[in-house]
């Protein structure tokens, strides 16, 4: 019984701690604005989300994503989110499948002049 509880608590702790997000942003860049009804720290920002599963093929080396939705061709913010499910998927597929969940905000066009 005790062992079950310990396992349960350990599992919960593992799930909780493996779910986190990290945000990087440039300090002096102008974010691309948007008129939305968001009520979080991205209110007023034009946020793009990428939520996908990447499958690595044997012939593929390191993979990357082309971000094409930034008219300014520059990034203001990138937020990477790790989830327990994502880590588990990576583990059980021996790294072949990766869950990718990122948010990004572009630099506003014409603001880098």
């Amino acid at each position: 019984m005790n062992l079950r509880k310990i396992t349960l608590y350990f599992g919960l702790a593992l799930i909780m701690t493996s779910c986190y997000s990290v945000r990087f942003q440039v300090a002096n860049g102008q974010w691309e604005p948007a008129d939305t009804e968001r009520e979080d720290s991205y209110a007023g920002y034009n946020v793009h989300t990428l939520d996908t599963i990447v499958t690595r093929k044997l012939t593929t080396g390191s993979h990357y994503f082309n971000i094409t939705k930034c008219p300014s061709e520059a990034l203001h913010t990138v937020e990477y989110r790790a989830t327990f499910g994502g880590i588990l998927l990576n583990a059980v597929t021996f790294g072949r499948k990766k869950k990718v969940k990122i948010k990004y905000v572009c630099i506003k066009e014409n603001s880098l002049m």
């Binding site: 300090a27 009804e37 009520e39």
Partner: protein, 531 residues
């Protein structure tokens, strides 16, 4: 050609969720792409034609058309129910060269910049800093567009500088769909730009102090502000320090703005007798036992390259600083108190504003940096003559104790503006402001509308002349309010509006806010004014 995306909507809201308000169409205009090879002047005049078409469409359907910036205003000043125009992507910037100056100009050409309406304070600062320049002042943060700032009178607490509109020296308005409706305004007594340069923008020139001053704080109703010419200055640094000082001393400094014998005793400095660039007093209205007030002193010092080596990185990451802006401070205090608003207010009675006492040195853009969304907020802000500041604060704080709302007070100070409807109308205006979180009827507190009515009444009943921040919450329907605050100046403003805008255009550029404030009544053009 510039392009406009039209979204069909049912509602719109401010950044701080002070609505929602009904809306039919939301328009977003983007400039012609670089790849077309158009010059910036061509892109600018091209998008002006696009805006004129949008104005014509609104007029054809008898609908209102209103430009918005970053929607930071908490009043409904930015709202119109038919067509709202998001102009943030109209952000071209033009430095002014020596040969482009008016022959009688007294400005240094290197300090002048023509900025398109959608430029936000943060990007303007970056643009200027790359040229060794700085804005003279900004609000407590940096997200507003330049046109939005001047339309509502955005200010900081720069005692001897003023508000954002006070360093604007030229205005480019689009007042209708015809070629002659693109106008460039500047003061006759302080011309800035040469006529041949202004012709690049295909604008009709009006040099007239009265018209310029009225259009400067135009409440979004003097036409579409397409561009502004600002006067910047050389880069400078700000030395910021927040400390608790004796309450009576803080109020005496507010009432007198006399720092000639005052020593702020900031570690490692000697600012004795120096008038600060910025002075701000924070106050919890519920704790009457507090002997000290938190005060923000900011001093202007000479810029040098390696200041970060001496003082560290000034960018105020949120955990290190508490006194960023008033709403942020309140949220930080409220985090430690019960969530239920009546309990929170009860706890505020024994809460002491926290200490900070950290030196920060940075450029204007670094000291007044990003202020993220803090939740559904309200803010009421009254301008009084600084000599009445302690009296007004005490009256409004007492009112707040009698009719509690979840917020705290601050006082900021601004130099007089020349703009006709600037709320900084006193020689030195003290803005007494309360910021806090929104509440609802379930909390059994006074409503925001009734609270703001009582604020007006208490100042009127005590014969304290006042103004109200155009972009903040207030009882804008209060009878005869604008006339009480501005008297004959309101009439002058209306007259100039009728001179710049035809009667149909006055209707296009009106909204409920203008109706509430009794400034929207269309007037026929007056031949007595010079255009």
């Amino acid at each position: 050609m510039a392009t406009t995306k039209i979204d069909i909507r049912t509602r719109w809201d401010t950044l701080h969720k002070n609505g929602p308000f009904p809306l039919k169409k939301f328009l977003t205009t983007r400039l012609e792409k670089d790849a077309t090879g158009l010059s910036d002047f061509e892109k600018y005049t091209d998008v002006a034609l696009e805006i004129q078409q949008l104005i014509q469409q609104a007029a054809n359907t008898h609908e209102c058309f209103r430009a918005i910036g970053s929607k930071w205003s908490m009043s409904n000043i930015a709202h119109c129910a038919d067509r709202m125009h998001f102009n943030s992507f109209m952000n071209l910037k033009f430095p002014i060269f020596e040969g482009e100056m008016h022959q009688d100009a007294t400005y240094k050409h290197s300090n002048l910049y023509w900025l398109q309406c959608g430029n936000q304070i943060k990007e303007v600062s970056r643009f200027l800093e790359h040229r060794g320049k700085s804005l003279k002042t900004s609000g407590a943060s940096n997200g507003q567009t330049i046109a939005g700032c001047i339309s509502t009178g955005v200010h900081g607490s720069t005692i001897d500088v003023g508000s954002v509109q006070d360093y604007v020296v030229g205005l480019n308005l689009i007042t209708g769909p015809n070629p002659e409706d693109i106008v460039y305004l500047e003061r006759k007594t302080k011309p800035a730009l040469r006529d041949t340069y202004i012709q690049n923008f295909k604008a009709r020139i009006i040099r007239d102090d009265e018209i310029f001053n009225a259009a400067l704080v135009g409440l979004g109703s003097m036409g579409f502000i397409h561009g502004v010419v600002i006067e910047a200055e050389n880069l400078f640094l700000l030395h910021r320090y927040v400390k608790k000082i004796d309450k009576d001393e803080a109020l005496q400094l507010a009432d007198s703005l006399d720092f000639s014998n005052y020593d702020p005793k900031i570690p490692g400095t000697d600012f004795k007798g120096v008038r600060p660039f910025h002075y701000k007093v924070f106050m919890n209205p519920y704790n009457t036992n507090e002997k000290e007030y938190a005060v923000e002193f900011i001093y202007k010092i000479k810029y040098y390259e390696n200041y970060k080596a001496d003082f560290g990185n000034p960018i105020p990451f949120q955990k290190e600083f508490i006194y960023l802006d008033l709403i942020y401070l309140f949220i930080k205090i409220a985090e430690k108190l019960p969530k239920a608003i009546p309990k929170l207010i009860k706890m505020l009675k024994s809460s002491i504003l926290p200490k900070e006492e950290k030196t920060t040195v940075g450029k204007l853009s670094e000291i007044f940096w990003d202020a993220g969304f803090q939740g559904r907020a309200f803010a009421c802000s009254f301008g009084v003559d600084h000599r009445n500041s302690s009296k007004a604060l005490e009256l409004l704080a007492k009112l707040t104790r009698d009719h509690p709302v979840p917020g705290i007070f601050a006082m900021r100070f601004i130099k007089q503006s020349k703009a006709t409807l600037a709320f900084s109308k006193f020689p030195f205006t003290c803005m007494v402001e309360i910021d806090g979180i929104q509440w609802d009827d379930k909390e059994k507190l006074i409503s925001l509308k009734d609270y703001s009515t009582k604020m007006i009444e208490v100042l009127k009943n005590n014969n304290i002349p006042f103004t109200i921040h155009w972009g903040k919450n207030a009882d804008w329907d209060f009878p005869n309010l604008v006339n009480h605050m501005y008297g004959n100046k309101a009439k002058k403003w209306e007259k100039v509006r009728s001179t710049l805008l035809s009667v149909p255009m006055q209707e296009v550029f009106s909204n409920n806010f203008l109706d509430s404030t009794e400034l929207s009544k269309p007037l026929a053009p007056d031949d007595g004014l010079i255009v």
